[in-house]
Amino acid sequence: MRNFGTLYRFELKKLCHRKMIWVALAILAVAAVSLPVTQVTGKMYVSNDATGGEDQVWTHYELIRRQRQDPAGLDGRPLDTDLIQETIGEMGYISRITMPVAGNDNAEQTVTVRQADPDELGWTLDGYIIRGEYGDIYNTVWSMVGEEAMTEDLTAEDYYAAVDAERARGYVGWGLTEGEMAWWDAQAAKLKTPLTVTGYPDGGWCNLAETAYVANLFIFLFAIIALAGLFPMERQRRTDALLQCARNGKTPLYAAKFLAGLTASFCGGLVILLAMAAGCLILLGPEDATTAVQQLIYPAYPAPMTVRQLALTVCGIYLVASLCHAAFVMAVGLCTRGGTSAMAVCFGAMMLFIMVPALPQSRRVLGQVWSLLPAVFGNMGAVYDTRLVHIGGYLTNFQAAPLLWLVLTAALAALGLALHRRVARK
């Protein structure tokens, strides 16, 4: 395509000259960094009624810094019968909390909370963290076997059997076919048991995996701000007549603009994701990198995957999503022929995707298609969703999503070209 490189560079130049894009990117990057920052600001207060002495006050930063040092010494231990029994033993202290019933201010309920005995472990920062570390292990096991089974007779075999049962229930809940169940069982067979525990459950990689969905929305927002007016602005600037009657004013110009738009969205997405990753890993630490998602996210996830792999996978997927977001926004701009109207339509679509994060599981095909949309995909729901996509063989949602989005991007590109090539009626 003649002069494509020159046209592409000038289209990028036009984008870079727009101050609004840089302002939006800076604000979104700061917002992305601030998400993990909020976890280290603030303080923990422990009243002197419980301590019998002075109030204990720890900053969240102190808490996280100390947590990274694993005072309970649980890091690297296998989640076997010994650890399960040790945890149950440590968690012998029961407290009952009275709290309002949700949605009914006049009613109260008593909730039983089990935790490690603070009188035994002490009212110090270390004591608090040790109680938390055992509490995380306790909750991981309890979520599978139930409160009644948390006794001195519980073994690792019981726990892992409960995990298998939960996994099977999940298959039925998602409406998986026999072939899909067999495929996941083969993946689950590769899981090594007992799991190796991390002593630092709220680390940077886990946080990145959990909050990356927010980065995806930021990327969509950036694409809307940067690209809604990419095509309409030629008409608003009254340069459209000059361009349309030029030799390269049809397909080459469209391709250059489209590619420039994809580039801007991809680079903006990279900045946002790197900002979020930097915030998570620097502030919260990388110590949980090799922890299995089965410990920190969902015990019944039927495949071997570490938290770092999950985090990097979702970040990579969202970089592909940035291309799809860009293509969608540019296509809307070509349809509406106005930057403001295109922004309004895209914001409306974004709100729809946020407010409808999932469709009923009974609608298998429709629900699965919806869950794979770029602005919907993600959050930890993606880990729980074991529906597979049949393209040749079986693909998980993590594998299918980027492939489908690339196809969708190409389809939107073709639509945009057809809209661009139409000669104006007025």
Binding site: R2, F10, L242, R247, A424
Partner: protein
């Protein structure tokens, strides 16, 4: 070399902006006159392929207006064109040269040449947003000439130019008219008087006069006579 316009019409709702216009334009300068709302700009946009006609066709040497070959030989200066404020004058020409299909070396050479012709060499590295109206108009003229067009469509090209610049531009157009088909629309009758060998007068979407005029006669009077306004002016 010939521009053929065959029963060209353009209708916007109930309003017929261009009404069954048929023309054949050979190399030379053709002036297009008419009152506001006569359809001059619409006709020019149809000739440049920016508007889709309701009926009829436009071709240049057998090439349909929608083809890339047609656009390759076309130069157009719109009446009210925009620019990229943060581009320099040189950037703008290089961008338009790339749009018109010139390779890098040819783009640089033609840009330098045309910047000198229109007197913008000294400010070529300044941003277009700092240019005066006349400077922007001259830049617009330069971009129209980048690809040595065989068909040159100019809509109010001398608007905003001072008298000296206007004379220079007239001479330039007259020179170009020797080898190209030039269609020039303007309200400045003296521009047409000096350089156009053929005059089209448009009224209510139709061509009411097509041909030369008696050069011994004042063109302005001749033009007004077409609209029955000679008595008022006298």
């Amino acid at each position: 070399m010939e521009l053929t316009i065959d029963r060209l019409s353009k209708q916007f709702g109930p309003k017929i902006a261009v009404d069954r216009v048929s023309l054949r334009l050979a190399p030379g300068v053709t002036g297009l006159l008419g009152p506001n709302g006569a359809g001059k700009t619409t006709l020019m946009r149809l000739v440049c392929g920016i508007l889709k006609p309701t009926a009829g066709m436009v071709s240049f040497d057998g090439q349909d207006v929608g083809s890339e070959e047609y656009r390759a030989g076309l130069g157009y200066l719109p009446q009210d064109f925009g620019y990229y404020p943060d581009f320099t004058g040189r950037d703008f020409l290089l961008y338009m040269a790339a749009m018109k299909g010139l390779d890098k070396a040819a783009a640089r050479r033609k840009s330098d040449e045309l910047l000198a012709v229109v007197g913008l060499s000294d400010v070529q590295k300044k941003k277009v947003k700092t240019y005066s109206g006349g400077m922007r108009q001259r830049l617009g003229i330069a971009q129209a000439l980048l690809n040595d067009p065989k068909l040159l469509v100019l809509d109010e090209p001398t608007a905003g130019l001072d008298p000296k610049e206007r004379v220079r531009f007239r001479d330039l157009i007259a020179t170009l008219g020797r080898d190209s088909v030039v269609l020039l629309s303007t309200h400045i009758v003296s521009d047409v008087e000096h350089i156009a060998g053929r005059v089209l007068i448009m009224k209510d979407g139709q061509i009411v006069h097509d041909g030369a005029w008696d050069k011994h006669e004042d063109l302005e009077k001749f033009y007004l006579a077409q609209f029955g306004e000679e008595a008022d002016h006298a």
